[in-house]
Amino acid sequence: MRYVRLFALFLKASFLVELEYRANFAARAMVSVFWAGVTLVGAGVFFSHTETIGGWTFNEALVIIGLFTFMGGFIQTFLQPNVQRIIEMIRLGTLDFVLTRPINSQFMASLRYSQMFSMVDMLLGAGIVVWACIRLGYAPAPVTLAQFAIMLSMAVLIVYSIWMVIATLAFWLVKVNNMAELFNSVYDTGRFPVTTFQGLIRLALTFIIPIAFITTFPAQSVLGRLDATTLLAAVAMGVGLFTVSALFWRHAVRSYSSASS
């Protein structure tokens, strides 16, 4: 398929860019290991005082931490660089080059650049999940893995859509970097099980900024504790948000007038 080939080409170009800056790679890898370590030690401190947090034991919470690190890596690798680029293109008017291409403009704008070094986080995160399962002495059944695959794809779709909505706001507000920062702060809550939070905050983290669907619920699915309602809710949430982001983008492009006349 044409778009898959194009995406591969985009990835290749981005990878070539990263190879231009070798020192940056080493620094990035160190930062990744450092933050994964901070998260792990932090969790260790919490659990040295209590057996469970929000109903999750330390080893179970490790799965959440792994997914938190993985999704953080995904954001850093694919979403953040493109969103920054979109904001810049809107400000400078170079988005014209995207909009005059015979190709879906959202695809081109949102997947053009990636910061491959941050994949280190994705690998680390995946490693932590596997490590947690080993510590639990737990091997997920094929059905569980299939459910997890769905939940993870939905998590990816949800995160992508939220970032795209933020980026699209730049058409009107031009500078939205602080909104991206705001999302990152809220995303930080994803390192804890959503059950840790009470009342309104928990509701907000489930339905308004659905961090629960990004880390806690996929973690539940790895552990085979997912009920059908949550699975369906995740699919509805993923598809729904993606549709919203695509429609919003289309609307924005339509009302776009570039920076210099």
């Binding site: 080939r5 005059t100 291409r101 570039s258 006349s261």
Partner: protein, 336 residues
């Protein structure tokens, strides 16, 4: 369809917010924005045929770029109609997007950290150019523009001129039928400007591509375009043959004279309008039709050290058009 590009009473109005200077003004603008409508393009009409090279002239903010953006489908017209190659640009159908290209001298599409070849390959994939065609087109562009070693150098290490050559190549890989060139020579030195100009002319000759060019450098337009469209404050002031405009606005040649001794000004005046006279030099405006015999008469009657005919400066002519000093320019008649 009769013409390749048809523009009919096209208008584009923007809403812009205004900001008064200073902190107080900024704060006020942050909370309550005042809007104002800018008429960037107002009821502009013209037609362009396949293979034509047309120059858009006008001062900054005249509406040249806005018109190009409407034609590229980037802006929706407020009213009026545009049609290019049988397509309505703002629908941005892929079949249309594949047939034109937009080059903006002030903006770049090349990937900054990579050699231009990487951008070329991405464009090849986006425009679905078959490999064999791509090789052939690249070879031709390489010959015309002498890209050679540039293709393997990171864009950030290229000079402005080298980068522009690669920008043009990147924009032409899909062999577009229509080229919108928005100040393609901006910031380049004279030699490089000439190179780019020659390339555009040669490309037009070889492939019969239609070219709309905007430029601040009059030399670009004089060298490339027989036809010009003059726009100012969003309105079309002139559309027609460049030479015809010159003859209408400046129906004279410029005669530059150098004397050995102070000439008698009243004697000079009988040969033409004295535009300037100081000391041993004088400049006369002589009617075009009688230029040669006037010069001959003058030489026989007055002692002259040196004599020189020049065409009136194009910049001056265009300035006169902008200043509204030229009456009777009726664009509708010209373009019909």
């Amino acid at each position: 369809m009769a013409h390749q590009i048809e523009v009919e009473r096209l208008s584009k109005h923007y809403q812009v917010h205004e900001k008064e200077p200073g902190l107080a003004g900024s704060l006020r603008a942050f909370f309550a924005r005042k809007y104002r409508v800018v008429k960037a393009v107002e009821a502009v009409s013209f037609n362009i045929d396949a293979g034509e090279m047309v120059g858009f002239l006008g001062p900054n903010g005249a509406g040249k770029t806005t018109t190009l953006k409407v034609l590229s489908g980037l802006l929706y017209p407020t009213s009026g109609r545009a049609n290019v190659l049988g397509f309505t640009p703002h629908r941005r159908q892929n079949e249309y997007l594949k047939q034109f290209t937009l080059v903006m001298g002030q903006k770049q599409q090349l990937m900054w950290d990579l050699p231009p070849m990487e951008t070329f390959l991405v464009n090849q994939a986006i425009y679905e150019v078959p490999r064999a065609d791509f090789q052939a087109i690249l070879k031709e562009l390489d010959d015309l523009l002498e890209l050679g070693p540039l293709l393997k150098k990171q864009v950030r290490k290229l000079s402005l001129g080298e980068r522009m050559k690669c920008e043009l190549a990147a924009a032409l890989l899909h062999r577009p039928k229509v080229l919108f060139l928005d100040e393609p020579t901006i910031g380049l030195d004279v030699t490089m400007q000439a190179r780019i100009r020659d390339f555009i002319a040669e490309y037009n000759r070889r492939h019969g591509a239609t070219v709309i060019l905007t430029s601040h450098y009059m030399a670009d337009v004089t060298a490339l375009c027989d036809r010009i469209i003059v726009i100012d404050k969003g309105r079309l002031l002139y559309d027609g043959n460049f030479r015809a405009l010159i003859e209408r606005v400046a129906p004279y040649k410029v005669l530059k004279l150098q004397f050995e001794q102070q000439p008698d000004l009243s004697a000079l005046a009988q040969f033409g309008a004295v535009a300037r006279a100081d000391g041993l030099t004088a400049v006369l405006h002589v009617p075009r039709a009688h230029a040669a015999d006037t010069a001959a008469r003058l030489l026989s009657q007055i002692e002259v050290d040196d004599i020189n005919f020049e065409e009136p400066a194009v910049e001056d002519i265009v300035r006169q058009v902008f200043a509204g000093k030229v009456d009777g320019l009726s664009p509708e008649v010209e373009s019909a």
